[in-house]
């Protein structure tokens, strides 16, 4: 199955159940509830920004749509938000990026059981078949695309170091895919430590890598925030010429440097925080048209190169 395309494999079943008809009665506004984690780090900050921008745009485009946005700093708060939306705002659809899969599964299922449309973003629920629409980035491709670049651009026997994120399944998926992609290339991974997707932590970890290893050919920082810390540590050691760095996500500062052909940052791998916009736009279509939008939408991770960087550059976004 081609995962990057919009699959409508569940279409038949859902259409048979009669859910495909537009839910709008004449003159009534459809309310879409949006529940996402709050902006605690760069990626989520970007995601929050894109959510707000998209809601503004959709409201202007479709006067018969209304949105309720709630951001939560913790799992419990997110559950409360969703319950409040059901109880007081009478939502017709819920777009949710679950803080954690397990605890959010039954609250979201309750929304679904009440006959509402459910769009789940990025982090899947622990039970299948609850959501009408699933929109997510592709963590396996994220690791694979980076790995393929390393394989294609390093000789056998080259030495690299890797910074991992916060220990999670998501991080494991990326790292496993990366390992698989460079398998058989003769590239040696000297070290793999957790930098927690944090600039300061990545800075210290990279400083220690540099003290420990006399020769490093490339760094997979796996995240643009970590890449910033890594680059700073490298420039402190004066070894800029020796190695290049690949981050991930698509932070504007990094994309800018790729556009400017910085030799230290040849490419970046996308994992766009704007995926929330995809989810919102598609969900909105369901209420303003007969477009079938149930299924899974997996946003591919692609390579940002100096040639295509301009289309990934959003100077106004905070991320």
């Amino acid at each position: 199955m081609e995962r990057r395309t919009f699959l409508a494999t569940t279409a038949a079943a859902v259409a048979a159940a009669g859910l495909a008809t537009p839910a709008l009665a004449q003159g009534k506004k459809a309310v879409i509830g949006v529940s996402i984690p709050s902006a605690t780090h760069g990626f989520m900050g970007g995601l929050n920004w894109h959510a707000q921008e998209t809601i503004k745009r959709l409201k202007a485009t479709y006067p018969n749509l209304d949105f309720v946005l709630a951001t939560a700093g913790a799992v419990g708060k997110q559950v409360n938000d969703i319950e409040d939306m059901m109880a007081t705002r009478n939502i017709d659809a819920l777009v949710v990026l679950p803080f954690e899969s397990e605890p959010l599964t039954s609250p979201v299922k309750a929304v679904k059981d009440a006959g509402k449309w459910v769009t789940v973003v990025d982090r899947g629920l622990s039970q299948e078949g609850i959501e009408d629409l699933y929109v997510a980035g592709d963590n396996t491709a994220f690791g694979r695309v980076a790995g393929e670049y390393f394989k294609a651009n390093l000789k056998s026997g080259a030495k690299i170091v890797v910074l991992r994120g916060i220990p999670t399944t998501l991080d494991n998926e990326r790292v496993d895919a990366f390992r698989k992609a460079i398998d058989g290339s003769g590239i040696e991974i000297l070290d793999m430590q957790h930098g927690n997707w944090n600039r300061d932590k990545a800075f210290s970890v990279m400083q220690d890598y540099l003290s420990k290893h006399k020769k490093i050919d490339a760094v997979w920082a796996a995240d643009d925030d970590m890449a910033i810390g890594v680059l700073e540590a490298i420039s402190q050691s004066g070894r800029q010429k020796e190695m290049w760095v690949v981050g991930g996500a698509g932070m504007k500062e990094i994309v800018k440097r790729i556009m400017d052909k910085d030799p230290q940052l040849p490419v970046d791998v996308t994992y766009p925080p704007a995926l929330i916009s995809t989810a919102l736009e598609i969900t909105a279509l369901r209420f303003v048209s007969d477009t079938p939008v149930y299924g899974r939408f997996i946003i591919g991770s692609t390579l940002i190169t100096p040639a295509n960087a301009a289309q990934f550059y959003f100077p106004n976004s905070p991320f």
Partner: protein
């Protein structure tokens, strides 16, 4: 042994008792372990890295020693550092068009950092002393406030210093005097001043008196509220100073800046032998505690001893051991 443990009159030249040497012993063991595991451990580059990294938490921990000694606590310092860094960067970016890139702009930024630190410390201190709220609750509240404010200022993203200013400011972290990096020098000065203030000034003695029994201190005509307020203000200023050294490193601040610094600072203070319930403070011990904490991290990165998943566990074990070492000796002495 027993002779040494008998408390002598407070003379300025007494030797530290054996129990006090616990954390120092732990530090020496760690250094020996590091040197054994990796040849580069004792290289000048690595030592500079570890000491410069310790400097931020170190300066904050010295201030925290006074707060804890006088029976208080401050959980807000990590968020406060992030908030100060954010305000400082925004102020410097805003002043850039009128002042131009130059030393006065950097000095203005430093002034802003110290002023915000002072104000933040004053706010904590006044809420504790004038409003009479438990320091744990006050600073838990301000911790959330500062953290949210910086996230809000950054619009959920990152606040970055203007590139040209950053180039000028960068040497404050990366270069130094006689081969010793600036953060290390400043940290050393703060530590020495802190040690002197704790042992040889009225302020230090008042802190200990208030921490061991604030009623008795009050009856002895010590301005309990005044001294407590001063400890929070001092800590706020030191957080500002730490931020001044921190900002040139990465030139940015975000909602995740200074995450958990408060716990590291408190841990360093306790490892160093200061009593968590107050009444006794040891600034040089705090410095040792800070070094122990950064060395653990450094050694774990330099040597592939265990799975990185277990790094946190190793840290925990060493922290507890360092404290057990000194408490154990104390009870046997």
């Amino acid at each position: 042994m027993a002779d040494q443990a008998v408390s002598r009159p407070a003379s300025s030249f007494r030797l530290p008792s054996l129990s006090a040497l616990g954390p120092l012993l732990a530090l020496i063991l760690l250094v020996a372990l590091g040197a054994f595991l990796n040849d580069n451990f004792l290289s000048q580059g690595n030592i500079t890295n570890v000491l410069a990294r310790s400097a931020f938490i170190g300066m904050i921990a010295v201030g925290m020693t006074f707060v804890i000694t006088s029976g208080g606590l401050d959980l807000s310092v990590g968020s406060m550092a992030a908030f100060i860094a954010g305000v400082m960067i925004l102020a410097m970016n805003a002043l850039l068009p009128s002042m131009g890139v130059g030393v006065p702009l950097i000095l203005a930024g430093m002034g802003v950092a110290l002023a915000v630190g002072l104000a933040a410390g004053l706010a904590n201190g006044l809420l504790v002393t004038r409003a009479g709220i438990e320091p744990f609750i006050v600073t838990l509240g301000t911790m959330g406030i500062f953290r949210s404010l910086v996230t809000w200022l950054a619009d959920g993203g990152t606040i970055s210093l203007d590139f040209a200013v950053r180039q000028l400011y960068r040497p404050v972290y990366y270069s130094g005097l006689f081969g010793i990096a600036w953060p290390i020098l400043v940290f050393a000065l703060v530590a020495i001043a802190g040690q002197v203030a704790m042992r040889h000034t009225r302020f230090g003695r008042y802190c200990e008196a208030i921490g061991s029994n604030d009623k008795v201190a009050r009856y002895s005509a010590v301005s309990v509220e005044g001294v407590r307020l001063a400890t929070y203000v001092l800590l706020g200023l030191l957080v500002g100073l730490a931020t001044i050294m921190y900002v040139p490193r990465l030139g940015s601040a975000s909602g995740s800046t200074g995450m958990l610094w408060e716990l590291e600072a408190i841990a360093a203070v306790i490892i160093g032998g200061t009593a968590l319930k107050g009444g006794y403070g040891r600034v040089w011990g705090t410095v040792v505690g800070v070094l122990i904490l950064s060395l653990i991290d450094n050694i774990l990165n330099l040597a592939d001893l265990v799975s990185p998943y277990l790094n946190g566990a190793i840290q925990g074990v060493i922290i507890v051991l360092a404290v057990v070492l000194q408490r154990g000796k104390k009870s046997s002495a």
